[in-house]
């Protein structure tokens, strides 16, 4: 039988400043390889467009917002670098978590003062608001803040500043969800 000690590690996290530099280099590589920046909300948006197109194609064609992302040649809106980037992020994160001991049992992480259900409802509400906001602002933290500021887009700078600024302001009201 096997007696090797299974490595039980303390979860390791990278130094945030070093991580930031790596993320910036990754963004540079994205511009170089794919000719465009990263955007997680973009990947989600493409998913939404695909679903709407499947369920109500006529509505999607007529709508100015959706129709822009439906390719003319009939291929799926999912055939886009963003989707594959998102898939890669998922599995890359998983690999990193596995190697550095962050991959544990499937669980909902939340403050000990609230229940998992509260956390999920709050996440859902926040996600909806963030989704609406990201589409109004033409990008999320990776799309507008990261890639937008990388290309010195003024709109991207404003989105980033307000996203984090407003978050800072409202954090006090939601502190109970975390501490």
């Amino acid at each position: 039988m096997d007696t090797k000690i299974v490595k039980k590690q303390q979860p390791k996290y990278i130094n945030p400043y070093f991580g930031g530099i790596l993320l910036g280099l990754l963004l540079l590589a994205a511009f170089f390889i794919a000719g465009r920046g990263l955007s997680a909300s973009g990947a989600v948006k493409l998913l939404v467009v695909t679903v709407v197109d499947k369920v109500a194609p006529a509505h999607a064609e007529g709508n100015a917002y959706y129709s822009k992302f439906i390719p003319a040649d009939g291929s799926s809106p999912l055939y886009n670098w963003l989707i594959f980037g998102a898939i890669g992020t998922f599995f890359g994160g998983m690999l990193s978590g596995a190697i550095f001991g962050r991959l544990k049992k499937l669980r909902v992480e939340h403050s000990p003062k609230i229940s998992a259900r509260t956390r999920l409802i709050a996440a859902g509400a926040g996600g909806i608001l963030f989704g609406i906001g990201s589409q109004f602002g033409r990008g999320c933290s990776s799309g507008a803040a990261l890639s937008g500021t990388a290309s010195l887009s003024f709109g991207g700078l404003i989105v980033m500043a307000l996203m984090f600024g407003i978050g800072y302001v409202f954090a006090w009201f939601f502190r109970k969800l975390w501490i």
């Binding site: 299974v6 039980k8 690999l95 499937l106």
Partner: protein, 314 residues
């Protein structure tokens, strides 16, 4: 001066023009389930012969429960694909040695009952309250348990035939250049064995068993990658139609799906996770197993669809 050749025809036969698309989802599903069943059966038989039933309980006793269901669903999918369904029984009125489809029909005819018997022989052991209710069934069960070793040999042999058949079925059609490679037979067998190992690994609760299966799976994935690379190299070194067929995966319309979902997510990434697991990092077992299972399915879909697009003429 531009060199150009145009072929114009008014023909527009459904399912044949502009590209042959007579086989749809039913065939890849059938090939996949056949390969999966072959994989599970092969290792159930192998570990029985090696007298490792106690250590490899899931592989030998529990995983084969998937096989009868997989084969029945696969055969049903195949039945759905037939266009002259009322006459399906004609398949069993003759054996045509030159037709791989005939080989497959008869192999499945042998394998399916055998898998049912194998599962039935373990029913009392795994479900102590199980009662056959008829004395003749009890006698049959005793017979099955007595001849388990012979059944194991038969299962191993038939599993190999089944796995190879899923590939040879396609490679016998030399009119489809993408399929016309003898590598396909053993490639689909290896893929089937790998998916069978992944399924057994996922079901297993024993660390030792998972380790053994994981090591075997790594060998299978290694062989599979080797065969895929050599299949593509073979195409690139063959006639023009096959070079064009290979280009479907090297810049053509199937490039992304093939390399991302079949090779990276279906083979390389799960293999990496399995190596990490063997080195001591804790990886939830369902992740590599699920990726391998999905990768195998996508591989079959891609091969069937891409193969019908390739042709000799036009």
């Amino acid at each position: 001066m531009m060199k150009e050749e145009l072929f114009i025809s008014g023909r527009n036969i459904p399912n044949v023009d502009p590209y042959l698309n007579i086989w749809h989802w039913q065939i890849p599903i059938y090939l996949y389930l056949g390969g999966l069943a072959a994989g599970i059966m092969f290792f159930a038989g192998y570990f029985t012969i090696m007298r490792k039933e106690k250590d490899m309980e899931t592989t030998v006793k529990w995983a084969p429960f998937l096989v009868p269901g997989a084969l029945v669903v696969g055969l049903f999918a195949l039945f759905l694909d037939l266009k002259h369904q009322l006459y399906f029984w004609r398949l069993y009125t003759t054996i045509r040695l030159e037709s791989p489809m005939s080989w497959g029909a008869w192999t499945l005819m042998l394998v399916t009952p055998l898998s049912f018997i194998w599962v039935a022989s373990y029913m009392k052991e795994l479900f102590p309250k199980w009662d056959w209710k008829f004395n003749i069934l009890n006698k049959a069960e005793a017979l099955a348990i007595k001849y388990r070793k012979s059944m194991a040999w038969a299962m191993m042999l038939l599993a190999v035939v089944l796995g190879v058949y899923t590939g040879i079925l396609l490679s016998a059609f030399n009119a489809r250049p993408l399929w016309n490679t003898s590598v396909l037979g053993i490639l689909f067998l290896t893929s089937g064995l790998s998916t069978g190992l992944a399924a057994s690994m996922w079901m297993s609760k024993s660390k030792y068993e998972r380790k053994v299966l994981s090591r075997l799976d790594l060998i299978m994935i290694g062989i599979e990658l080797f065969l895929i690379i050599h299949m593509l190299m073979g195409f690139l070194a063959a006639s023009e139609v096959q070079i064009e067929a290979a280009h479907l995966f090297l810049g053509g319309e199937f490039t992304v799906v093939f390399w991302v979902f079949v090779i990276i997510l279906g083979l390389v990434f799960p293999a990496t996770l399995e190596v990490l697991e063997l080195k001591g990092f804790h990886i939830p077992v369902w992740i590599p197993a699920l990726l391998i299972l999905i990768g195998g399915l996508v591989f079959r879909f891609v091969m069937v669809e891409a193969g019908q697009i390739t042709r000799f003429l036009y």
